[in-house]
Point group: C2
Chain length 245, copies 2
C-alpha cells in the first residue's frame, strides 16, 4: 500500500511527503531529533490518557521516570552493532538503516500504543498499553504473540535498567483474553539476580486491577549477546535502552 | 502514512487504489476470494522459496498439506464472534471489520513471511519463516516478541488441527538470536493430551538444522474461550483455522 501510494504520487509528479514521525530535521543545525513514540497521540483512548497523566504526576518528585521510545536506533548504534555482531550475508548497511523496532513498526493507533515508566528504587517498570486493531488473534482479542511482545518490551527494559540484558526465557500464562482496543497495565518487577542473570516477574491487568489477564516470568542473560559497554544504562531513562523500547 | 497518502491522492482527484491483497472481487458472481498470504511473493529469499518447493513436493502424496493464511476473518465469523464474545465497549461492528490478523498486518516483506505445512498422521506443523526488517529487537536480530508470535502461530495452528484451542501457556527458551532477514524452520509437535488440554513442543532451527535458535512448549486450553462449534477443524487445511494463521 505504501509503495503503491508512493508510486502513484511520484507518477503524478507530487514530491514525497515527510515520513510521519521518523525524524525532525532542524535546518539551522541539521541535528536530527527522532520522534518519541511514548507520548500521547490522537489514537489514545481516554483511559490511556488518564493513566499517562497519573504516572506523569508520579514523575514530578523523581521517584518515577518516563522512558522515551523510538522506532529506530541511532546511526552510530547501528554501525557498532553491524561491525560487531551482524552477519553481512543477512544484513548490509543499507538494510540495517531501514530496520524498525518491531513494537513500533505499525502505524499510529493500529499496533502497540504504550508508554513506559520506571521506578529505580523499587526496580519496577510499568507499561501502559493499548492494543490496536492490527494486533488481532482470535477475532476481537489481542494475539498471544502481541501480548508476549509487550511483556518482552516491559521485562526487557526493566532488566536493561540494571545493565546489559537479553531475554533467555519467557514463560507466559494467558489467563483471560485481552479485548482489542482496551487499555491494560503491564507491570514488571526485578525479583532476583544470580550473577549477571536477572529474574523478572510480570503481570498484565485491567486498569481497575480487578482482572488479571496474563502472568509471566522472564530470565535475562547478558551472555546471549555481549553488548558493547556504551549501552550500559546506569541511569535508566537518561541513557535509555536503544533497542528494547 | 497510509492516511496522509490517501488524503493527498483524494485531494488530487485520484480514485482510491484497490487495497493490495485484501480481496479479489469477481464481478461475474460478486464472490469475494481473500488473498492467501502463505504463498511465495517477491520478498521471499532463495532459501525460503527452495524450502517451500520442497514441502510442496511432500504434499503431492497427501502426507503433508499446505495451510492457507489470511489477513482477515470472514464476515460471518466476525459477526458470530462479535455476538458471542466481544464487549461492545471496546469493539463495534465497523471496528471488527477493520481488525487484522497480527502476524499478517505488516506490509509484504517487512514483517512475518511464512508458510505453514501440516502432517496429520504425525500431528506435526512446520512453519517456514523469514523475519522482515520491521521485526527488529536488538539491532540486526529478530525481536523476542516476534519469535514468540511465530511460535504461537505454529503451535496454535497445530493445536487447532485437533479441534478448538486457545493458548494457555507459552514457555520459550531463547538460545541464540535470530538474524533479521534469515530463514528459519519452526517445527511444532503435539506431544500429549489431557482431557481437552493439548501440550505441544516447538523448535526454531536454521535451514541446515545445525543451529537451534529457540525451544518452546505450549499448552492449549479450549476452556479459555469457548469457540462456536463451526470452528471445529477435523480436516485441517480444508476447514482451516480462521484466526490463527
Amino acid at each position: 500500500m505504501l509503495r503503491s501510494c508512493a508510486t502513484r504520487l511520484r507518477a503524478l509528479g507530487v514530491p514525497p511527503a515527510r515520513r510521519p514521525g521518523a525524524v525532525w530535521r532542524l535546518f539551522s543545525s541539521e541535528k536530527i531529533i527522532p520522534k518519541d513514540y511514548g507520548l500521547p497521540n490522537p489514537s489514545w483512548s481516554k483511559d490511556l490518557r488518564l493513566l499517562f497523566d497519573q504516572f506523569m504526576k508520579k514523575c514530578e518528585d523523581g521517584s518515577w521516570k518516563r522512558l522515551p521510545s523510538y522506532r529506530q536506533s541511532s546511526t552510530q548504534t547501528l554501525k557498532n552493532f553491524q561491525t560487531r555482531f551482524v552477519d553481512p550475508r543477512f544484513m548490509n548497511e543499507e538494510q540495517m538503516s531501514k530496520a524498525q523496532q518491531f513494537s513500533r513498526s505499525l502505524e499510529e493507533g493500529l499496533g502497540f500504543e504504550y508508554a513506559l515508566f520506571y521506578n529505580k528504587v523499587e526496580k519496577r517498570m510499568v507499561c501502559l498499553f493499548q492494543g490496536g486493531l492490527h494486533l488481532q488473534g482470535v477475532p476481537g482479542f489481542v494475539h498471544g504473540g502481541a501480548i508476549a511482545t509487550i511483556i518482552d518490551v516491559t521485562t526487557g527494559t526493566c532488566a536493561f535498567a540494571e545493565g546489559v540484558a537479553m531475554t533467555a526465557n519467557l514463560n507466559i500464562n494467558y489467563k483471560k483474553p485481552i479485548p482489542l482496543g482496551s487499555v491494560v497495565v503491564v507491570t514488571s518487577q526485578l525479583s532476583k539476580t544470580e550473577g549477571r542473570k536477572l529474574f523478572i516477574s510480570c503481570t498484565v491487568q485491567s486498569v481497575d486491577e480487578k482482572t488479571l489477564y496474563t502472568q509471566a516470568t522472564a530470565k535475562e542473560n547478558p551472555e546471549l549477546l555481549t553488548l558493547p559497554l556504551y549501552f550500559r544504562s546506569s541511569e535508566c531513562g537518561l541513557n535509555h535502552p536503544p533497542h528494547l523500547t
